[in-house]
Symmetry: C3
């Protein structure tokens, strides 16, 4: 059995070789950046949100990414419809509950998707995961107002209760299915200086889920790859603009053997 670091390298290699189609129903702010992140990593992204085509489109996909960052009721309906079809087809669903806890619409939409579809991984910041767990949160928008450390126990409880693996990203990432608890120590502070890095992390978990059937392994290896690309990009960035560009380059260029060597994943 490979180590998790070896699995990371294998997943990245397989992603680039097989170019899985990732169907995204995501928010307006990050659509372009998410598509570019997926392309840079080696996946083939498609964005489609019309209720009368999402079932057809998800039939081609190896993963479905649902992100409620700029939701309205009709978009949530489309997400649930796509999610039900994905569930019936066995296509993994990755949920990004952007801003859960900030407004009732967001918290309820995330809970509805979790209830009506079989989510493979839910990925959020600490505040969003606390909100889904029904715990106290300090969130006022879409940026985290709580720490991963504060949210660890709630994440384990949430994963257990829902039967859905939970990933919290932050300075240190946490992935748990309620039994396994994995931490990823890749990443860089500049990643939070641009919009959409969290959403992009969710999409990359989707891409890795398209090549790795174990959701915990897919999420942990995806976040190590993503964070390591962030470290490479930050090395010679002058600020958030140049970081953003170097980040796409780093996702595209990162060799699997460097990922195996520099992934900081601990269980």
């Amino acid at each position: 059995m490979p180590t998790i670091q070896q699995q990371a390298a294998r997943n990245l290699t397989k992603l680039r070789e097989t170019r899985p189609l990732i169907h995204n129903i995501t928010n307006f702010v990050v659509m372009n950046f998410t598509a570019n992140i997926l392309l840079a990593a080696g996946a083939s992204p498609v964005m489609a949100h019309a209720e009368n085509e999402v079932e057809e489109m998800v039939g081609f996909a190896r993963a479905l990414v649902l992100n409620i960052g700029t939701l309205t009721d009709d978009w949530v309906d489309a997400m649930v419809k796509a999610g039900k079809k994905a569930t019936s087809l066995g296509v993994p669903i990755i949920l990004d509950p952007v801003g859960a806890g900030a407004t009732a619409l967001r918290t309820n939409a995330a809970k509805r998707i979790l209830a009506e579809t079989k989510v493979s991984v839910v990925r959020g910041n600490a505040s969003e995961i606390l909100a889904l767990a029904g715990a106290q949160t300090n969130t006022k928008g879409v940026d985290a107002a709580d720490s991963v450390g504060q949210a660890t126990d709630q994440a384990i409880r949430l994963a257990t209760e829902l039967g859905v693996p939970v990933a919290i990203t932050g300075p240190q990432d946490l992935i748990t299915d309620g039994k396994r608890v994995i931490r990823v120590n890749n990443g860089h502070a500049l990643m939070s200086s641009i919009t959409g890095t969290g959403c992009g992390a969710t999409a990359i978990i989707g891409a890795f889920s398209g090549v790795d059937p174990d959701p915990v392994s897919a999420a942990a290896t995806a976040l190590a790859y993503y964070g390591l690309a962030g470290q490479r990009a930050a090395a010679d960035a002058n600020g958030p603009g140049s970081f953003m560009i170097r980040f796409l380059d780093a996702l595209y260029n990162l060799p699997p053997e460097e990922l195996e060597r520099d992934a900081r994943i601990s269980e």
Copy 2:
């Protein structure tokens, strides 16, 4: 009492220290760039446009930015709903009347927002401000077809009639509440070579309005900061692409003491 240049430096420092949440209901073209501009400046952006969450979201915000760049009727309804709540809470509203004068839908939407909510600052190009003032304009789209000089008298009249400070951006920016007339001479021609710099200026006025209760001072210092970052970015740019990236870096890196020294604000 500080000079306006000192106030500019204070506002930037306070913005970076307090990271005010800025709620944007804006157009699809610039959502990503606007969010990155606000993050680079030090603010915390959120985009939310659903009628059933905008009142809740604006309750967390220190400013509300309304931009009609890709409007439809339901989006205008959401803007008015958010704006009424912001008015009742005392949250400053910054209006960007993108394309006012080009179509009746746009002119009417901007006028409706001005009539039904208490706007703190309206920021447009010369053509848009002329259109709102009911004057002749040459606009055919969303780019300015008239000069700031041509629009000055109308801007003063409009500000007086509405009781709303008006900012016109262009090669020279003008800010007036009908009594004070401030000019800002920062900026660079490359700023008009990329989409969304006008919309970004409006958002930055929102961010500065989140830390400076005087709308005229907030607008003038915001535009000096924004224009100076444009000058810094243009210094070694090879074209609009590299300018865009260096602009985000410059917004992030500009020291308050350089803003105080190089802000070209005259009253």
Copy 3:
């Protein structure tokens, strides 16, 4: 009569001198990048999709670009409405049938626009053009799964049947009105590593159609310009991020005389 290479240089010069307004009803993923591509080339982009303003807006435009990349029924209605008005005004319409063949909604929307408006040029990848021609395609999303070579005969047949020039982009581009068959050999593999280069090509055909009344010439010269800018950008790019930025710079900087010299257009 000028050579097609000379015509390319003339079109680019005229584009930068006259800055034609290009009205886009396009998808959420590429709106920002498309606007920046058009600005870098010298055109003046506007995005407007509300049913109650598209007729007014297209009245100012020199070309209308319709792109179904993230369509819903109401957006298709707006496209048809704008397209009918453009037809009556003689404004050239450029259609990008993104994802035709992948879902019935997309194939039907593209066919409806072709039936109800007078399209000047339809630009797609090989899979999309095969789908419109009613031929077998391997498409599963929005990326090409078929080659230009495989689609050539069908493109000629489709152009003849519809009376609409067809452009297929890929490693080699093909432009045909059923009689003339033109090939363009500019371009670079990195162009397919970022999202929206196909959509941008369609928009640039729109810009060139705003200054060149011959749709076949407009499309061929536009694609040579666009591909040559891609070559220049790729020369020192480190990956898709830096390529994207250098591409905007190259579109902005490319001298007409270099386009005349390096355009690889053969008939």
